[in-house]
């Protein structure tokens, strides 16, 4: 029986999609399901035993320190997102609208270069720069300022988050703004729109999708990052990734760590879906 053209196209597409579906099933869906079931297991003599008990959920969710960590992680990730988006925007704007094509290419290449080095190494290099006897305080010392404590503070944590997210956010914003139809901006200017009003009323609405995606990426990376709050923030405030480490370190409570991880994933899913819905929401009357 001959297969019609439409069916063969569907089969062809499915064949190409199959590897990624299989991959996702085994390496994402499978582990997530295992993690969910693990959250009901018990630990006896430092060994996990299969069970279906709610004690881990009760123990973690009834602890004040869990909710303190949860609130702080959301707060510091939001601050990180606002900082990264604000710092990246002028750079991305310049690259998208005033820099030449060659400059833009070089800039994007230079923004990619940091990813060639391990994030941990980049984080440790901040010790030399931010410590009280470091480069920044030495320079400030010449003009009679400081020394200021920057390591083991919220500021230190934010510097770490920026190290992780800023290059990516600049790249995403640049690519988004570069794709805006320049004639629309020119039209706005010709019709008397002031420069700042053009940014607010034309450029930002037109690059809304890319900007929201960049913000979501920034939030997700900051929310799940362990390195910055641990090494540059000195664990001064416990974030959820640090809490996972603490939970597994003492008593080998992997099931309770799974509870924390599930809560993190649920939060990120909610934020990502809300963000994406906002990004692709059509304007009324559009």
């Amino acid at each position: 029986m001959p297969i019609n053209n439409g069916q063969s196209i569907k089969l062809y597409a499915l064949t190409w999609r199959l590897p990624i579906i299989i991959w996702q099933f085994f390496f994402f869906v499978g582990p997530v399901l295992f993690m969910v079931s693990m959250s009901f297991f018990l630990v006896k003599n430092y060994r996990m035993t299969e069970a279906f008990e709610f004690i881990n959920w009760y123990k973690m969710l009834s602890r004040g320190y869990f909710w303190d960590s949860y609130k702080y992680t959301i707060f510091i990730s939001m601050v990180s997102t606002v900082c990264a988006m604000s710092l990246a925007f002028p750079a991305a704007f310049t690259l998208a609208f005033t820099a030449s094509e060659t400059t833009r290419r070089w800039a994007i290449f230079l923004l990619i270069i940091p990813f060639f080095t391990s994030y941990l190494v980049r984080t440790f290099s901040w010790f030399v720069i931010l410590s009280e006897s470091g480069v920044v305080n030495a320079v400030l010392g010449y003009i009679g300022l400081g020394p200021y404590t920057m390591l083991n503070t919220h500021f230190g944590t934010l510097v770490g988050y920026m190290t992780l997210t800023l290059p990516l956010v600049v790249i995403l914003q640049t690519v988004t703004m570069s794709n805006i139809d320049k004639t629309l901006i020119e039209a706005a200017r010709n019709l008397g729109c002031k420069p700042f009003a053009t940014i607010w009323q034309v450029i930002i609405p037109l690059s809304k999708t890319g900007l929201i995606i960049a913000a979501i990426f920034c939030f997700i990376l900051s929310f799940g990052d362990f390195v910055a709050p641990f090494y540059l923030g000195g664990s001064q405030e416990t974030t959820l990734p640090i809490l996972i480490l603490d939970t597994t370190k003492s008593g080998q409570q992997w099931p309770r760590a799974a509870v924390v991880a599930i809560m993190m994933m649920a939060t990120l899913f909610a934020i990502a879906f809300t963000g994406i819905a906002l990004a692709y929401r059509k304007r009324k009357g559009a």
Binding site: R47, G64, S133, T238, K249
Partner: protein, 379 residues
């Protein structure tokens, strides 16, 4: 022509060359295989540093063995690694003394023959019958080294006199400058000592436990961070932390040797001893080799290696070891006060009752202490 060129290009060996290479290979094979065949792997579970060349290279070369380490951080982590491995995975296990009892109860270690080890040469009576190392008259673990935890400080901010009490952690100038080693046991142990619990620092009834919690919480505003080994090291080195709670000479010693103005001392309220002991893993197929290695580490030569360990130093536990250290490395012996008559001689401190062996909480669970530690970090 084509065939000739191909051979030339690919460099195919001539018959003479082939014979030469083959002959050489044939002649050297017995030596190569003999060398490989007789090198035995010893699987070691230990804190970082114990299977590094500065400690074991000499022994390994002399006995044609190779150490395959699995390093852990913390007793819980060690127990979990053993629990998740089949019996016989680890030939030799280095553990903190307070976890030996749990290793034994879980059946993870073999009993030792006491006469195989220099118990009569131990520097202190306590070391011969160390708590938890014996059960039903059988020896299960041999103590090989120890270290003391107290006040670790930067000499530019805290005087030697001030460091004689844990109260220096509350010095107003040190707000945000007191670091914590991120493990509840030594930190809360020190707070318990500061509260005057002395020898019963781990055996706290509800009222004393509440008091320890209150004391600890009152230190929160001073805390500048919670660190692992590397973080503690960095914090003290770059001056971000001017004092550290929960550590001792094992972290400040390498910095001190490097010229940093840091030191550790045992305050008047007392200090805590960490004790490291070797056991032979249950069903180890190389139990004899493991025994031989423990004997080496307790020999004067092994004790010197342990005292000089690059990762973190520990004091000698045998008389022979101490004598050998004084002879081989008098500077280190003096620096670590391992000389009779010195004010902070580790053995004299034990005799004076100022040192308490690290243990686990007696009236609360480890989970209670850990929960409070998380609460403290978030306070």
């Amino acid at each position: 022509m084509t065939k000739f060129r191909k051979n030339k290009i690919m460099g195919a060996p001539s018959r003479r060359r082939l014979l030469k290479i083959g002959g050489a290979a044939l002649l050297t094979t017995p030596f190569v295989s003999r060398a490989w065949a007789s090198t035995t792997d010893i699987n070691m579970l230990a804190w970082y540093g114990h299977a590094e060349p500065d400690v074991v290279a000499e022994y390994a070369a002399a006995n044609n063995v190779r150490f395959v380490p699995k390093y852990y951080a913390g007793g819980d982590n060690m127990l979990a690694l053993i629990a998740q491995s089949p019996p016989g995975t680890y030939d030799i296990i280095l553990s903190d003394a307070e976890f030996v009892q749990q290793l034994n109860l879980a059946g993870y270690i073999e009993p030792l023959e006491a006469s195989d080890y220099p118990l009569d040469d131990m520097l202190h009576e306590d070391f011969k019958k160390f708590p938890g190392h014996w059960a039903d008259g059988k020896l299960y673990s041999m103590m090989v080294r120890g270290g003391h935890l107290g006040v670790s400080y930067n000499k530019n901010s805290i005087t030697e006199e001030e460091a004689q009490s844990y109260s220096c952690f509350w010095k107003p100038e040190l707000e945000g400058k007191v670091g914590h080693f991120d493990w509840h046991l030594p930190n809360l142990g020190m707070m318990s000592l500061y509260n005057g619990n002395g020898g019963s620092l781990w055996d706290l009834d509800d009222a004393k436990w509440d008091a320890v919690r209150d004391t600890t919480l009152s230190l929160r505003k001073q805390a500048g961070g919670f660190f692992d080994y590397g973080g503690s090291f960095n914090g003290l080195k770059n001056g971000e932390m001017q004092a550290m709670c929960g550590i001792g000479d094992w972290i400040t010693a390498p910095l001190e040797k490097d010229g940093a103005p840091v030191a550790s001392t045992i305050p008047k309220e007392g200090g805590i001893q960490f004790t490291e002991s070797y056991s032979i893993g249950k069903d180890s197929p190389k139990a004899d080799l493991a025994k031989n290695f423990i004997q080496y580490m307790l020999s004067p030569q092994g004790q010197v290696k342990s005292a000089q360990m690059a990762a973190y130093p520990g004091f000698c536990v045998t008389k022979g070891g101490r004598a050998a250290l004084i002879k081989a490395d008098p500077a280190e012996a003096k620096r670590s006060h391992q000389m009779s008559g010195m004010a902070n001689d580790p053995i004299a401190l034990i005799d004076e009752g100022r040192i308490h062996y690290r243990d686990i909480p007696q009236q609360q669970s480890l989970e209670d202490w850990n929960d409070f530690w998380s609460e403290y970090k978030n306070a």
